[in-house]
C-alpha cells in the first residue's frame, strides 16, 4: 500500500510537470528542455527555506514559485524572441547550468550529497506525515494546476498563445503583445513546475541534483509529446504511462537501474517514431509539423 501510494505521489508530481510544460510546448509551440531545472529550483528553494526557517508548505511553495519565475525571466528575457530551435537550445543550456550550479555550489546546495533531513511540512496546522497525506495534497495540487492551466488555455490569453504557434507575425499585426504573452506563459509554466518541486522536496525529505538532470527534462517533454501536446489530458496520460512503466518492469523482476534505462530507451526511441507515424501523440489533435512548422 505504502509502495502504491509512493507511485501515486510520483505520478502526481510528473503530471503537474507535464501539464505545466504543455502550457508553453503544446499551446505556444515553445519546446523547452529546462522544465526539470525549474522543478529543481522549486525543490531546492523549498528545502532550503524549510531547513533554515520554519515556514509551512504553502509559504515554501510561494517562495519556490517566485524563485522559479525570477529564474525563468533569465531565460525568457534573452531567448523568448528567438526561433523555436534557438529557444530550445537556450533552455538546454540553462538546464545544464542549473544542474552544474546545484552540483557545485556546495555551500548552499550541499553539492552532490544534496540536502538531507528536510523537516516535515504542515498546511494550516495539518502535519503531513504518511504517504497518504502527500498523495492527498498532491491530488489537490494536481487538480488545481490542471484547472489553472485549463483556465489559461481557454481564456483570450490561451488564444493568443495558439495564434503565436500558428503565425506569430500575424498575431503581432493584430496588435497582440506576443512577446509579453510568451514571457508570461513561460513564467507561469516554470512556477507550476516549481510547485511540484515543493511537493517532491517534502515528500522525499531528501533531495540531490540527480533528480533534476537534462534527462528528466527530456522525460517530461516526452510525456507531453508522446501523450499528445496541446491537450492537457494527453500529457497527463503520458506522465502516468512513463512513471508506471519502470515500476511494472520492476514487478517482472528487472532491477531498478535496468528498468530506468529501459524506460529511457523506450521514450527515446518513441520520440522519432511518434513524430513520424503519430505526430498527434496518443490522444492529441494536431500534428507536430502543423504546430512547429517553420513557415
Amino acid at each position: 500500500m505504502e509502495y502504491l501510494l509512493h507511485i501515486v505521489v510520483v505520478i502526481e508530481i510528473f503530471a503537474i510537470l507535464a501539464i505545466s510544460l504543455d502550457l508553453v510546448a503544446g499551446q505556444a509551440g515553445l519546446l523547452s528542455l529546462s522544465h526539470a531545472a525549474f522543478f529543481g529550483i522549486g525543490a531546492y528553494a523549498s528545502a532550503l527555506l524549510a531547513l533554515h526557517g520554519t515556514a509551512g508548505y504553502l509559504t515554501e511553495m510561494v517562495v519556490a514559485m517566485a524563485t522559479a519565475i525570477a529564474a525563468s525571466l533569465l531565460v525568457s528575457s534573452s531567448s523568448i524572441r528567438l526561433h523555436g530551435e534557438y529557444f530550445l537550445i537556450a533552455t538546454f543550456g540553462f538546464q545544464l547550468i542549473v544542474f552544474s550550479v546545484l552540483n557545485n555550489w556546495t555551500a548552499v546546495t550541499g553539492g552532490p550529497s544534496g540536502l538531507p533531513g528536510i523537516p516535515g511540512a504542515s498546511i494550516f496546522g495539518w502535519q503531513l506525515r504518511s504517504a497518504l497525506d502527500f498523495a492527498a495534497v498532491g491530488a489537490l495540487q494536481l487538480a488545481i494546476v490542471y484547472l489553472v492551466v485549463r483556465l489559461m488555455v481557454r481564456s483570450p490569453f490561451g488564444r493568443v498563445l495558439r495564434a503565436i504557434r500558428g503565425d506569430e507575425a500575424f498575431a503581432q499585426s493584430l496588435g497582440k503583445n506576443t512577446v509579453g504573452v510568451k514571457v508570461a506563459a513561460f513564467s507561469a509554466s516554470a512556477a507550476l513546475a516549481a510547485s511540484a518541486g515543493t511537493l517532491y522536496a517534502f515528500f522525499s525529505s531528501y533531495i540531490d541534483p540527480t533528480s533534476f538532470t537534462i534527462l528528466d527534462s527530456v522525460l517530461i517533454l516526452s510525456m507531453v509529446l508522446i501523450g499528445g501536446s496541446g491537450t492537457l489530458h494527453g500529457p497527463l496520460i503520458g506522465a502516468v504511462v512513463l512513471v508506471t512503466l519502470p515500476e511494472l518492469l520492476r514487478q517482472v523482476g528487472i532491477s531498478g537501474e535496468l528498468a530506468g534505462n529501459l524506460r529511457q530507451l523506450i521514450y527515446g526511441a518513441a520520440l522519432p517514431i511518434v513524430i513520424a507515424f503519430r505526430p498527434k501523440g496518443l490522444v492529441g489533435r494536431s500534428g507536430l509539423d502543423g504546430r512547429f512548422g517553420a513557415k
Binding site: 534573452s78 524572441r81 537550445i89 537556450a90 543550456g93 516526452s222 509539423d289 513557415k295
Partner: protein, 293 residues
Amino acid sequence: MDTVAQLVANGLIAGSGYGLLGLSLGLIYATTHFFHFAHGAVYTVAAYAAFAFIALSGLDAWLGIPSAIAVAALFGAAVDGFGYAPLRRRGAAPLTLLVASLGIFVAVQAVLSVAFGPGVQRLHATGADAPVALFGARFTVLQSVTVALSAGLYALTFVALHHSRSGRLMRAVGSDPRLALIYGIEGERVVMLSFAAGSALAGVAAVLAAYDTGLRPSMGFNALLVAVVAVVVGGVRHPTGAYWGGMTLGFVQQIGAWVLPSQWQDVIVYAILIVLLFLRPASFRGGSASRAE
C-alpha cells in the same frame, strides 16, 4: 609571464578540443540546417567503441582508434539514413528533426549505460600523461597531440570543402538544395556524406577526450552543448567558422577559469550563449534557421 603562457596554452588546448567539436557539428549543420542533437550520441558511441576495442578486446591503439572513428562515421551515417531521411521525406521542419534527434540521443545513451555501466571508465596510453614544457607553459603529450590533430583536421576540412568534389557538393547542397537538385546533385547522398565526415571528426574529439578525462554514458551532453554553442558563435553558415567559434569558447572559458573556480566552466559556456543570443537575436530569428525545409 608564465601565467600568460600557461593561460594561452590552456586556451589553445581547450579551444582545439572545442573547435574540433564545433567543426564536426558545423559540417553537418551547414548541409542540413537543423541541430543534430544525436551528435552527442555519436560522440559517446565513438568513445565507448575505442574503450571496447582497446581496453576490453586488447586491440592495439593504432588499430583500435581508427576503428572507433570508423564506427562513429558509420553510426552517424546510419542515424541520418534510418532516422532523419524518412522524416525529411515527410517534409519535417528543423524543430521536428531536432526533437527526433533528441530521442535518438537519450535512447542510445540508455543502451550504452546498460552495456557498459553508468560509471566512469578509463582509457590509458603509455606516455600520454608525460609533461611537456614550452615557453614556460606546462601541458601533457596528449594535450599537444590534441592541438596538432585539431589544427590538422581543420586544415584538411577547409581544403576538402573548397577543393574537392565532395566538399563542393556539400557546400552546394547546404546553400541551396533545390538548385543543387536541378544541377543533378543527389542531395540525400551528399547529406549522408556530411554526416559521416562530421561524425568521424566527432569520433576523433571523443577518443581524445576519453584518453584525457575518461568516459561515461552522459559525456555527450556537455560535448553537445559545446558543439552547439561553437556553431552558434561561429556563424551557422560556414562549417569552418564553428571551429573558430569553439576556439573562442575555449579561450574565454580558460580566462574565466583563471578568475573563477574551475567548476564554473560550464556556466561560462552558457553565459556566452545567452549573451550572443541576446545581442544578435535577428540572426537566429527565421533567416538561416528556417531554410531547411
